[in-house]
Symmetry: C2
Subunit: 224 residues, 2 copies
DNA sequence: CACATAGTTCGCTCCAAATCGAAGCATTAA
DNA sequence: TTAATGCTTCGATTTGGAGCGAACTATGTG
């Protein structure tokens, strides 16, 4: 029964280890060059070039030429969503690539998911904002309440924006198997966390490391 | 950065057209035999056998032996979730397998998603139940309200169950790109729809065809 | 028992795609 | 200008795995 969209093309693109590594690297939200992605995937530049063409043709990534560099990023949040969903399933079916180690624990606590905060802290933030009445679900749409808008203004976090992307979105965690906050607001909050110096990205990883004071300040600011 | 679970194994399993067709067929929620799945995928019995072994080893499907028949079904709702997510992405990136035709329209209106109702009607049902206050979201968990429990009891729809699966779950539609009701309640409601004779499955498709009276009765019963 | 059906295993062929060496553009630096 | 860097294209090789014919096992039926 050839119903619905063709899954297999997209899945096949993700199904190659090299391309999957590239996509995983792009989950950080940062745009990476072809060379960097080749290193991530552990393949030669020529091979990477071919793979990147495929991913671009399949509309999973987009390319921006800047001088002699080609910067790639995920084509949309939907792609990131599918990748996280696949990670969740892969984790559940026991296909963990690495045994749980110290690095894994750090990832579980706080990490970047595309462009917003995921992990223990991301889930706690989401739950806290729901409990405090800053977020609500209405007609199946996640949104800021009046109190939420007020709070964001008080913290100096921008909520307006020209982009047509939704302000609030839920995103499922592969480590927690619970939702955390994505969308434009999720991105703004993570930017705020960086700007306040509460946390920094760990070099060469998706982990986000909070300072002792930063963690406290973060929880205080968002009241959770 | 080899962080997180290994996506590519799972994706590669879904990435073969034959296996993808099998999985799509299993989205109906019905357990199918190896032979039926071979026909779905358009391959010989031997090839199908090999594919089914792979999918089973990858924990995407589970097998139940009954006499000389082997019945297969999706291993978990998470698998169904990933498949729907992939369908959503594939539809968005324009990888539609078939041009929109009469069959497509029927699918868009009402279809089976794993074991519950999806499509226009599924989304409308979900929205209606939220609007009527039968469903609510609390601490990021979708659930029945007191009014909802009362309504289900009045309609004779069972809500208790020994299974540990959640009673209510949201599930994203690939055609509507909105949520509809999944989980044990979603299944119970679809069972009720069949039992009342309001609708029937279309042979050899995931479409659900409502009778004129059935459609009206369905909307009346759930007040949307 | 023989016979039919459902599914698997074995052996083989074949092809798509992953890979890289070498060469070719394009951009920036000296 | 020449040289260096980043990326792509071309050409050739290799291989994983998808596919099927044939034979085998297991279950059910007459």
């Amino acid at each position: 029964m050839k119903d619905g969209p063709d899954i297999s093309r997209v899945a096949a693109l993700i199904g190659d280890p090299g391309r999957a590594n590239m996509l995983a690297a792009l989950m950080s939200g940062k745009a990476l060059t072809a060379g960097e992605l080749a290193a991530e995937a552990g393949v030669s530049a020529q091979t990477a070039s071919a793979h990147l063409q495929g991913l671009e043709a399949g509309k999973l990534i987009s390319r921006a030429r800047q001088g002699r560099h080609h910067y790639f990023k995920l084509a949309s949040d939907d792609v990131a969503g599918v990748l996280e969903a696949l990670m969740g399933l892969a984790a559940k079916t026991g296909q963990l690539r690495t045994r749980t180690g110290p690095r894994d624990a750090e990832l579980r606590l706080a990490r970047v998911c595309y462009n917003h905060l995921a992990g223990d802290l991301g889930v706690a933030l989401f739950d806290g904002m729901m409990a405090r009445g800053f977020l609500h679900v209405k007609a199946d749409q996640l949104g800021l309440t009046a109190a939420g808008y007020k709070k964001m203004a008080a913290l100096g976090i921008p909520v307006e924006g020209k982009s047509r992307a939704p302000l609030c979105r839920e995103c499922l965690d592969w480590s927690e198997r619970r939702s955390h906050l994505a969308g434009r607001l999720g991105r703004s909050i993570l930017d705020h966390v960086y700007a306040q110096g509460w946390a920094k990205r760990v070099e060469g990883s998706r982990a986000v490391r909070f300072t002792g004071l930063g963690g406290t300040a973060f929880r205080t600011a968002f009241e959770f």
